[in-house]
């Protein structure tokens, strides 16, 4: 019921919350910039990029877009279809691997 009352007056949260999230987004962006600045390579680089990306995206969606306070049926209606994108990514990874394999075996390298 608390959720319903919050909606009746619109989203009301203290300004401090937004400033804190803003600061965190700055810190996380700086961190992902330093991943490149210090030329981290390999698995460490990719996992750090993905970690900072997901944290930033989560903060923006949950707090700035107020998803954390939305009704669960709206949250699911928006977030569940996005899993289709992940399936698409998986399909295209397989496809790209196969294309690369064909190119190397039939056209030689460098073409």
């Amino acid at each position: 019921m608390a959720q319903a009352t919050a909606h009746a007056q619109g989203q009301q949260h203290p300004i401090k919350l937004y400033l804190v999230v803003w600061a965190w987004l700055f810190i996380l962006s700086a961190c992902s910039y330093f991943v490149d600045y210090f030329q981290l390579q390999g698995l460490l680089r990719y996992s750090l990029i993905l970690l900072f990306m997901m944290l930033k995206a989560g903060l923006i969606v949950a707090v700035f877009m107020h998803m954390a306070w939305e009704r669960l049926s709206l949250v699911y209606a928006i977030l569940v279809p996005i899993s289709a994108v992940l399936v698409f990514v998986a399909i295209m990874v397989l496809e790209a691997d196969y294309t690369l394999f064909s190119r190397i075996s039939f056209f030689g390298t460098g073409s």
Partner: protein
């Protein structure tokens, strides 16, 4: 019968978790309870836009994974020499901070909108628009620089030809979204400034009475633009 229906609704309002989702979708009434149609439609538009950008990023991934030619190193391509020192990705980093700041001011504008503080809301929205315009300006600078260096959708001096087409397509579409966002920010900021949402003036396009939720809906779009940039920054510039 009416009584029965009312009790059904009352119990569904109290259920939580997955049960509340099932109750909402099976209620034979509007599924997104307590969510206005404007906000629900913006979310659904943003979901469809997510798919558009996902397709761009996935095609970029496919091109980059399947090419036998080395991919140009974005860290060097987007480096700038400032005061005699070459800094990797510096412009992109500044653009990221500008866009995040605009998201911060937008979130605060939404907050002040619900507090009926017209002045602060309008000023924060104008500040958001200014930061957005700055972002587009820096992107125009970046495009100019790369085009002068010979990057074209069909080739570039450093490696795989698909680099140019992916770059122009992804950043171009994102820049268009930012530009449209700036225009809409200015329109909504003007309405707030004039007090259209307090005086219940009718809109010039839809002839409907607005309210301060428009600021939040505008904010949803703006945060989405920032959100897309988070993914572009990670996958195109850093990867």
């Amino acid at each position: 019968m009416v009584d029965h229906a009312l009790t059904g609704v009352a119990t569904s309002a109290e259920s939580s978790g997955l049960k509340s989702v099932a109750a909402d979708f099976s209620s034979d009434r509007k599924a997104f309870r307590n969510v206005s149609w404007g906000k629900a439609m913006m979310w659904i538009f943003l979901l469809s836009d997510t798919f558009v950008f996902s397709c761009f990023l996935i095609s970029y991934m496919t091109a980059r994974m399947s090419t036998t030619v080395p991919w140009p190193n974005p860290s060097e391509v987007f480096a700038l020499t400032i005061a005699g020192k070459s800094l990797p990705l510096i412009l992109i980093a500044i653009m990221t901070f500008v866009l995040i700041s605009s998201s911060g001011t937008m979130a605060m504008a939404v907050n002040f909108g619900y507090r009926r503080d017209r002045r602060k809301t309008a000023i924060l929205m104008l500040l958001t628009a200014l930061l957005g315009a700055t972002f587009v300006g820096m992107q125009a600078f970046e495009w100019t620089k790369l085009i002068h260096e010979g990057v074209r959708p069909w080739g570039n001096p450093w490696g795989a030809a698909q680099f140019g087409s992916s770059f122009f397509m992804i950043t171009g579409f994102h820049g268009t979204h930012v530009s449209i966002g700036v225009i809409f920010l200015l329109i909504i900021a003007r309405k707030v400034w004039r007090g259209d949402y307090d005086s219940q003036a009718r809109g010039f396009f839809t002839s409907r009475k607005g309210n301060y939720e428009s600021v939040e809906i505008m904010g949803l779009y703006w945060h989405f633009v920032d959100l897309v940039w988070v993914f572009i920054f990670a996958f195109f510039y850093l990867w």
